[in-house]
Symmetry: C2
Subunit: 218 residues, 2 copies
DNA sequence: ACAAATATTTAGATTTGTCTAAATATTATT
DNA sequence: AATAATATTTAGACAAATCTAAATATTTGT
């Protein structure tokens, strides 16, 4: 597959939410930041190659073969993102653009060894699951910290309240997007929590807990 | 620069031995495994872009700007090769093809951090020098082990005698291409050597020493 | 059910990088 | 110096990926 074909395959995969759902030409065009006419040309080609099912005016979906390719691309993209954060000190929001390029490097040994080098990570820095070599992975869901049972660990992926005071609080307490958080204990009396974040355990009020989103593996 | 333009720039650089030497259309075509007519088209474009000097029928050379680009590509290529060998357990002869792809990834932060992650290596797994961010590097030369002064360290890059018995000897003594060898001591009486290779010191006869090529930094 | 709005495809053009075959320039040989 | 051999460029074609403008199909609203 060419770089461009690969990016279209990923776009169809993501728009279809990982299922073999049919997606519209315009949706793909928007995702790819291109024109609908370009999409029509490309999906015809993908269809010819056995990667996608395409019926004029009826949208496009991935074949099983196409889905395999998509999963392998997602795997590569997310492993590279882990590498950039864990080994090269990239921050949460800098990795995507570079991973978008690295995912197209062709070498099976490269990606297998990278996986090993990183200790076979299960999720990327955004908390999204990394498919195995066979394309298997666990689903993840986004929940507020106060809604998950004690003992759960997840990745901090967002805030409900994005006011400056709250963001300042997070900064002062060294809580950042992309951090892994373990919900250590819950105080029934006031709904406050003890959480473990980067080796240290801190105490947060219920109000904080109801404004932090975690991505957890089911 | 596009991927293709970058590969042409590197080809002109290497054929010109790192100087701004003029190289012929056919030489570039052979190096790039393409046709001379394609080279003519491309060098015209590189000339328009201020990367190369081109006079019809007279060959092509890099401008100072072109040389800067070439050095940055060589830097990226060689850093990735070190990464593949040091971190991902690739062997000496597997790295080039993958580095040929990785060198085109666009991210200044990526390459700076990779350099740091690898401990600012001076040479790649083939013993070739890695240009600094500013494009500076030390020249290296290839010499037989018995010709270098005691105390010199270099990378094993080849053999003079490639007969099966010799190669078997190297294998048995765990001497492989790409290994760093320190010439520890020389016995004047019989011309034999003590060499340090991967933590352990071994003794080799003069006959072995006269058949091993080292690449050393001047 | 029909018109209007929206979505999608087709036609034709452009850029990049490549190729083959033919033309032209340079270099080597006698 | 003329001819032969070699090197290089030009002309014209093609595939990939994109675009704009026009044509056509589908969906929506009354
Ligand atoms: Mn990403
Ligand atoms: Mn991509
Ligand atoms: Mn190489
Ligand atoms: Mn390359």
């Amino acid at each position: 597959m060419t770089l461009s074909e690969e990016d279209y395959i990923k776009a169809i995969y993501h728009l279809g939410k990982g299922e073999n759902t049919t997606v519209s030409t315009n949706a793909v065009a928007e995702q790819m930041e291109t024109k609908p006419s370009s999409v029509t040309d490309m999906v015809k080609k993908l269809s010819d190659k056995g990667v996608a099912n395409y019926k004029p005016y009826k949208g496009v979906s991935l074949t099983e073969y196409g889905k395999k390719i998509a999963l392998s691309l997602v795997r590569k993209h997310r492993l590279w993102e882990v590498f950039l954060v864990e080994k090269l000190n990239f921050s949460w929001d800098e990795v995507h653009e570079v991973a978008e390029q690295l995912e197209h490097i062709k070498s099976e040994k490269l990606i297998d060894q990278l996986d090993k080098h990183l200790g076979f990570p299960q999720v990327d820095p955004h908390g999204d699951p990394i498919p195995s070599k066979k394309g298997e992975f666990k689903k993840t869901i986004k929940k507020l910290l106060n809604e998950v049972p004690v003992g759960t660990s997840g990745i901090c992926v967002g805030v409900k309240d994005s006011s400056p005071p709250f963001l300042k609080f997070l900064d002062k307490n060294k809580i950042a997007l992309g951090d892994t958080i373990l919900v250590h204990d819950k105080e029934e009396f006031d709904g406050s929590f003890d959480i473990k974040i980067k080796e240290s355990t801190i105490h947060i009020s219920n109000q904080i807990a109801t404004n932090l989103y975690l991505k957890i593996t089911e």
